[in-house]
């Protein structure tokens, strides 16, 4: 479990993270989205007790990030923005080094290193120098390092960046597996499809402020509005089009299709379908137009942009 309240970090007068509060339930995945320089990495660094908050507090796995900093760092696995590997070392030596730091007994650190390397398809690379690894292999090795001490909390900064689709899938599967194993995970990513697939809750941070936080459905409802339904017809509508426009909140239409917004599809759709069939309109499909996280995210960022602009204009006026 991760909780934070009023978390703020100021560097020489620059507010990197501003009054951020969040709660991530144990065994869930929280995706942190936001433009570059928004404050994601600084937040992660505060939650891993690498940086001390200027104001506010945070608890990771029940431990205070300031008071119990060493214990917090022992209980989290961190995949940093830059994998930062020691290129002259062999993968086995590298993992052994981190295993020692976490005081894992020799047999356990070997077992875990081998199992994790095999999990990510790197079993044959144990005795190869890290410098010889491809970008994706390095990223996976960094992930193995983060998971080596079996931490209950994982903070993953861009876990699948620089990976080929197959490797990325391996990593996503591992994240889901860890989630099922009641691990708490925060991940930052620019890959919105990945965030939508993995995350239970999503937070959007911009200019240091958490501007949105919720499940995908909640965010979608709040920022993109009511669900949009699409009906497709077997033939052009002609006469039926007029009453449909009157009855429905149409947002777009074509010759043989129509999209409309509805607050309650469960109530509205069966009635609509019945009326269309009784009117002899040949309906092929009636389905919801799915909102993508990209649409929601862009909407959130645009709204915040507009708000900021308005505030600035207000100030100038």
């Amino acid at each position: 479990m991760i909780e934070a309240s009023g978390l703020t970090k100021i560097f020489d007068g620059f507010v990197a993270v501003d009054n951020l509060s969040l709660y991530v339930e144990a065994g869930s995945v929280f995706a942190f989205l936001g433009p570059n320089g928004a404050g994601k990495t600084t937040t992660i660094r505060m939650l891993t007790a690498i940086l001390e908050p200027t104001r506010g507090w945070a608890r990771v796995n029940g431990l205070d990030v300031v008071r119990d900093a060493a214990q917090v760092r022992a209980s989290v696995g961190v995949l940093t923005e830059q994998h930062g590997l020691y290129e002259r070392m062999k993968a086995a030596e590298y993992l052994d080094f981190f295993g020692r730091i976490y005081h894992l007994p020799r047999t356990l650190r070997r077992e875990r290193a081998q199992a994790l390397m095999a999990r990510f398809g790197l079993a044959d690379a144990m005795n190869r120098r890290v410098g010889e690894f491809s970008k994706g292999m390095k990223q996976k090795l960094a992930l193995v390092r983060a998971m080596l001490h079996d931490p209950p909390v994982l903070l993953l900064d861009e876990p699948t960046s620089a990976m080929d689709p197959q490797s990325a899938k391996q990593v996503r599967d591992a994240i889901l597996e860890l989630k099922n194993d009641r691990r708490t995970i925060i991940l930052t990513t620019h890959n919105l499809t990945e965030a939508q697939q993995l995350a239970d809750r999503i937070g959007v941070i911009r200019r240091g402020k958490l501007i949105a936080n919720g499940t995908f459905e909640e965010l979608s409802q709040r920022f993109v509005g009511d669900p949009i339904m699409e009906i497709r017809f077997a033939a052009p509508l002609n006469g039926a089009s007029e009453w449909l426009h009157k009855e429905l909140d149409v947002v777009a239409h074509g010759e043989n299709w129509l999209r409309f917004r509805t607050k309650s599809p469960q109530e509205h759709n069966p009635i609509l379908l019945q009326r269309l069939i009784s009117a002899g309109v040949p309906v092929v499909t009636l389905s919801e137009v799915p909102h993508t996280l990209e649409t929601v995210y862009l909407q959130i960022v645009n709204e915040d942009e507009n708000l900021t602009e308005k505030a600035q204009n207000g100030n100038y006026a």
Binding site: F11, D12, G13, R45, T48, I50, L51, E52, N61, L63, A70, Q71, R73, A74, S75, V76, V78, T80, E81, Q82, H83, G84, L85, Y86, R88, M89, F97, F98, R100, I101, Y102, H103, E111, R112, A115, L116, A118, R119, F120, G121, A142, R145, M147, D150, P151, P152, Q166, K169, Q170, D173, A174, E177, D181, R182, R183
Partner: protein
């Protein structure tokens, strides 16, 4: 697909927090050595480090041996055989110095190089404490070059002992060279941590490294001169000074090598505007300070409070030196002033009566004030470069001399009331000025070894510097001015009155 399905399932233990908290030095050292082992192994795999170390360890001693023979032959040919004994001790130290100069490169590489490659952050996210990381990396930077230096010195000495010279160096000399080499290596490494903490690129840190390598090279030259002049006992004092520098730099490095400083700094830029704003805001002080009186009340008093540790240290040193000066008179009878020494001078009473004519003798208010101010500013400036050591030393040294003089038996003949009358009236103003000025300078100099946790080193330094300016201008300088006026116009009269009575 197959890869994912066939991959073995992870054996996951129940999440535990088994990492032990470190509460003792042994644990700290054990954890530090995990880092050291890795770093040393890494260094041994880096040909850029190993080739110079190898060459300097093996080739340079042999080259030095060849040079020694050439010089020895030259001295013999020119009838200057005694010069051989003076010259021989020089080279072992230089042979040892070359490999340890590599420690600077390793230290910059291990600290700032890792920061530049971003490989430090995974390490910072482990439970290792800042101190464990710092000790681990410091040892890693010191051990290979130091081993190389010892081997180099050994090879060279072996060549001298068993070669044509058949030279038998004194054990004390060998110990001095080994200890000086070790202390110098530590100064370079701990100094480089300080340098690298202020930069984000190896390029910038290499440029700043000249601040370390140049003074160290000069020190080796000074040590050489000391050896040539056969004043080897001075080398022990240099060793003591190096150990003090080691301790201060280690403390400073340990304070600067922290997660906050390492990750907070992203660019090596000079933000003069920001610095100026900090300086001005600290000079102005509290927002309630609107006029001169409220400025004294809210701003100057706060600066005094913030500098009280420095002032306490200076006060303690003054008293300690005064007492030490007095004790020295008893322990060193040879230093005692005899009545004859005093009578060889013009009459003592005559000396005191001349106080009245100080201003006519050219020692006017401006002279005395100027002299005291120069000393105070000098002490403050030196404090910046000596971690506050010189401000304490300069402030208290005079009191050592004073204690020595006051304890002279001859003083009782003059009468303590006269002596005190010649000192106290202006000392009431000048001593507090000295304590305040030297105290705030000590705070400024020592700050870098232990900066406050709630702000960056540079900001804390600027604020302490502003406090120093504030206290010098608002308190010390006015007190010195009053003291100078009193010394010229009041003290002599009191002395005359005392003599008259």
């Amino acid at each position: 697909m197959a890869t994912t399905l066939d991959a073995p399932k992870l054996k996951t233990a129940a999440p535990s927090l088994s990492f032990p908290l470190h509460s003792n030095w042994l644990r700290t050292l054990q954890n530090a050595l995990i880092v050291t082992r890795r770093e040393v192994r890494d260094s041994f795999r880096d040909w850029r480090i190993m080739v110079p170390i190898f060459l300097l360890t093996l080739c340079f001693p042999l080259l030095a041996q060849g040079m020694t023979e050439l010089f020895a032959n030259f001295f013999i040919a020119n009838g200057a055989e005694p010069m051989i004994d003076v010259f021989l001790p020089l080279l072992p130290m230089i042979v040892g110095f070359f490999p340890i100069s590599i420690s600077l490169v390793i230290a910059l590489e291990t600290f700032v190089g890792e920061k530049e490659r971003r490989s430090l952050e995974p390490l910072l996210s482990t439970p290792l404490t800042n101190l464990e990381l710092y000790i681990g990396k410091t040892l890693a930077a010191v051990i290979p070059p130091l081993l190389a230096a010892y081997v180099g010195i050994g090879i060279y000495l072996g060549a001298l002992i068993f070669g044509a010279q058949q030279w038998r160096p004194q054990a004390e000399l060998v110990i001095q060279i080994v200890l000086l080499t070790t202390a110098q290596a530590l100064v370079m490494v701990t100094g480089s941590v300080v340098v690298s903490s202020q930069t984000t690129s190896t390029r910038a840190s290499n440029l700043l490294a000249s601040f370390i390598i140049i003074p160290m090279s000069l020190l080796v030259i000074v040590e050489g001169l000391i050896m040539v002049n056969d004043m080897r006992h001075l080398l022990w004092w240099i060793l003591v000074a190096l150990i003090i520098a080691d301790v201060l730099l280690f403390r400073m490095g340990a304070r600067l090598f922290n997660r906050e400083e390492l990750l907070g700094r992203t660019i090596d830029s000079i933000n003069l505007k920001w610095a100026w704003q900090i300086l001005l805001s600290q000079l102005r002080g509290d927002k309630r300070a609107k006029g001169v009186l409220s400025w004294y009340r809210y701003s100057v008093l706060k600066a005094l409070r913030d500098s009280r540790d420095g002032m306490l240290v200076v006060s303690f040193s003054i008293v300690a030196m005064l007492v030490a000066g007095m004790i020295a008179t008893h322990f060193a009878p040879d230093w005692r002033l005899t009545p004859e020494m005093m009578t060889q001078q013009p009459d003592v009473m005559q000396n005191f009566t001349q106080f009245a004519a100080l201003s006519e003798m050219g020692f006017g208010v401006r002279y005395i004030f100027g002299q005291n101010l120069r000393v105070l500013i000098g002490a403050a400036m030196l404090a910046i470069f000596t971690f506050g050591v010189m401000s304490i030393f300069l402030a208290s040294f005079t009191f050592g001399v004073l204690g020595f003089l006051l304890a002279q038996p001859i003083m009782s003949a003059i009468g303590y009331d006269t002596v005190l009358a010649a000192l106290l009236p202006h000392a009431i103003f000048e001593v507090p000025a000295l304590i305040i000025g030297a105290g705030v300078a000590t705070r400024l100099g020592a700050l870098v070894t232990s900066p406050p946790k709630d702000m960056g080193v540079w900001e804390a330094w600027l604020r302490a510097f502003a406090d120093m300016l504030k206290l010098l201008v608002a308190v010390a300088v006015p007190l010195l001015a009053i003291g100078a006026v009193v010394e010229v116009y009041v003290t002599p009269r009191i002395v005359l009155m005392t003599i008259g009575s």
